[in-house]
Symmetry: C2
């Protein structure tokens, strides 16, 4: 039997619509709140930062939303993406499980992020906006937006988390090659950055404050967020819709769907089309969200209203949070270093539909190297967390003697993370824990807001 089993779709199979899971949720989701009045935030509160079409997507109750032709055309640069059966990994793990992975690293920026970047750049350009600002952690979102802005003729200005800026200089060069301007965050060019100067390694929360501050000051400049918000997760559902079609080609149903979570867009993009079948048809699928033990939002955070950024410029969002001024240690999975998570995803964790697990940095790199040496693709540190969870699931399948079907999201390649692999292979990779004291202090500093149940 063939070692390489790849399921490929044709260009016309690129989804025509995004899946809006909001329409299928049982009960009312708690609304975001205005940071000043603590009243529910409406579309007008978001209009200084986002074009109206994205705001309408953010609050839509429609079950599907049509993808504009221009966005589908840009998707064709790298979509549909392949889905593989990981036979070589199955053999390496000596498991009866059938392991599948959906690979998003084939995009020009190397991750799933362009799926929403091109949608956001298109809507902003259509609304007459001249420039987008954003934050980036590992650089995957910033490079995706730099690429997308270039396609649609927009300027792009990026605040890159200091620790990643230092660890991954080539992600900065990549953004600059596409014409973007990149600042190390905290920077001196914003009030928010100057107020957080003491956090020299930075955080996504601080970088968001800087980008939001600059966007709010100019009418022709908007802000773009790479995760967390409903419309961002919405755009990513092209991943899961393609994976549904590819699993049908494989003739299998996943028993378990696994993805890493930073802000939730990779997880939601893969899982939501499968979750909709659970909500609508009672399909029995387990969902596992993998996060870093150094930034354990879903496993150690509290479910409460909190700011999306560190300085407190964004609406209060209902989510699991470690506290908006919690600064995680500088693990290499920079895309997962966020104090909160998508409210939509958090609600599903709260409702028991998604199980969350946290992993240490070294055990995720051990899993990544096993994957690279069997399947040939070197994973980014973020999906290495998912691979760690997959190995647990594959081990459990062996112990149970069951040919369980596992599907996971390989959301990006590790071409820009090889210094971390180098450290791991040399036995020099740090394995940081967060400070319990810092976590307690950050949780004590949550804003006053209605309690969530």
């Amino acid at each position: 039997m063939s070692d390489t089993v790849k399921f490929v779709l044709a260009e016309q199979d690129i989804p025509t619509h995004w899946v809006n899971l909001m329409a299928d949720l049982p009960g009312e989701a708690p609304p975001p709140l205005h940071p000043g009045t603590k009243e529910p935030a409406g579309p007008d509160d978001l209009s200084p930062l986002f074009p109206m079409n994205l705001i309408l997507q953010e609050v839509s109750a429609e079950p599907v939303i049509e993808i504009p032709d221009e966005v589908r055309d840009a998707y064709k640069l790298w979509r549909p993406t392949p889905l593989y059966r990981a036979r070589r990994l199955e053999r390496e793990l000596d498991t009866p499980a059938h392991i599948y992975y959906k690979y998003e690293g084939v995009s020009p920026a190397g991750s799933h992020k362009p799926n929403t970047a091109v949608a956001q750049a298109y809507e902003n350009a259509a609304a007459g906006i001249r420039k987008l600002t954003t934050e980036t952690g590992a650089g995957q979102w910033g490079s995706a937006l730099a690429f997308a802005c270039r396609l649609f003729g927009l300027e792009c200005e990026v605040w890159m988390v200091g620790s990643s800026y230092d660890q991954k200089p080539y992600r900065r060069s990549m953004m600059e090659t596409w014409g973007a301007t990149v600042h190390r965050s905290p920077s001196d060019v914003t009030e928010s950055g100057r107020s957080q100067r003491e956090h020299t390694t930075g955080s996504l929360g601080i970088a968001i404050s800087e980008a939001v501050e600059v966007a709010a000051q100019s009418a022709d400049t908007n802000y773009a967020l790479g995760s967390v918000l409903n419309h961002v997760l919405l755009h990513q559902t092209v991943i899961g819709q393609e994976a549904l079609a590819q699993m049908a080609l494989a003739g299998e149903e996943p028993d378990v769907v696994v993805a890493c979570v930073g802000g939730g867009s990779n997880f939601g993009g893969l899982a939501f089309p499968f979750l909709r079948r659970v909500l609508r048809d009672g399909a029995k699928t387990k969902f596992v969200a993998a996060e870093p033990a150094a930034c354990p939002t879903l496993t150690r955070g509290v479910y409460a209203y909190d700011f999306g950024d560190t300085v407190g410029l964004t609406p209060l969002m209902p989510m699991y949070t470690l506290g908006h001024d919690f600064v995680p240690p500088p693990v290499h999975a920079g895309g997962l270093r966020y104090h909160g998570d998508s409210p939509l995803l958090c609600g599903l964790v709260k409702a028991g539909l998604i199980e969350a697990r946290a992993y240490r940095q070294n055990e995720t790199f051990e899993a990544a190297v096993r994957f690279a040496r069997s399947e040939g693709i070197i994973p980014a540190p973020e999906p290495a967390h998912a691979i760690r969870a997959v190995i647990e699931e594959a081990d459990a399948a062996r112990e149970a003697g069951e040919a369980r079907v596992i599907l996971f999201g390989l959301c990006g390649h590790g071409n820009f993370d090889l210094s971390a692999y180098d450290a791991y292979l040399g036995g020099k990779l740090e394995d940081p824990e967060f400070s319990e004291r810092d976590l307690e202090a950050a949780l004590a500093a949550l804003p006053e807001a209605p309690a969530l149940t």
Copy 2:
């Protein structure tokens, strides 16, 4: 009309045979010569380094050679690769030309090199070999072989050209992630390396000497070359065969086929299936080989017998050469820093079937940035030479007012070359010329051998 025009083949369209252009050449090709006796070198002279199946491919006169199932299975990990029409680049260049590119950067190692690496690793494993040694310039070949050795259970030991080892540390980490051992060349672990200690930046010729020396010493260790030899170019013809099928889907015939040349495998892989039509059917196609002005083998070299390596361990090969001890300046297109070129390719240049052009480093990066900012893919410095030639051809088409069809090979991405982009964008990229005096000295030191006509 759509901006993104991509031509995709199905898995069953992966070629079943390689194209052996040798069978279609007019006249006898001059044979390689034994370095000691200067008599024609036969299969037995190659058997200390290569398995018999590869030697038979090297000397085959059959027009096609079947691809083993195991190799086609490995190809399925990333093949068929996409062919794009570069509409956004055409607009940027304001040209009536139709520009197409075949993109090989989707392989796990990021270039076309795995096409031959998996074929060579498979044949060596089938012959009972335990370890492969090789050299690598920019690291693309070394990482491709490390990946392929992993797939077929072989050890891999790589000598990496010193200047690239220093410029591209992450290519080394990539090879190590796949389990290979990597030395900086010239190294202290071989006699050849110790004899070339004064050439601190190294060269492909020196690194070849080191890898050949080690392979020749052990019965269970063979050597693998990433370019130059007939069987290597043979394996790469999957590129051109797919491109032929994709151009047929596009309904166009290329007037010009462009690719960069280091040792010739990328050029031959794309061009030979098209060249066969010229030789057989008299098709009118122009072929342009782009090389660096810092290492201008085809445009400034002499057509003569020379060693493939610096120390003089390999057979003498009939080729354009700058002299086997010529050490080119350390340009970033490390894969093009070779004193010679494929004898097969050189014969076609000599016969006037291929036109060669040389470009300076800065003008190639200018072309690469224009490409990245229009098409979204960041090219490796090697294919940037091809892009520079494509821009000349597109300009000529505009001046002639003709919708000429240009096809070029985008043989790899630039994810590991962003320090060079950084230098270019900052106005700090060097633009080295080679030393005329060094070239004269190297040409004067050519080995004694029969003259070529």
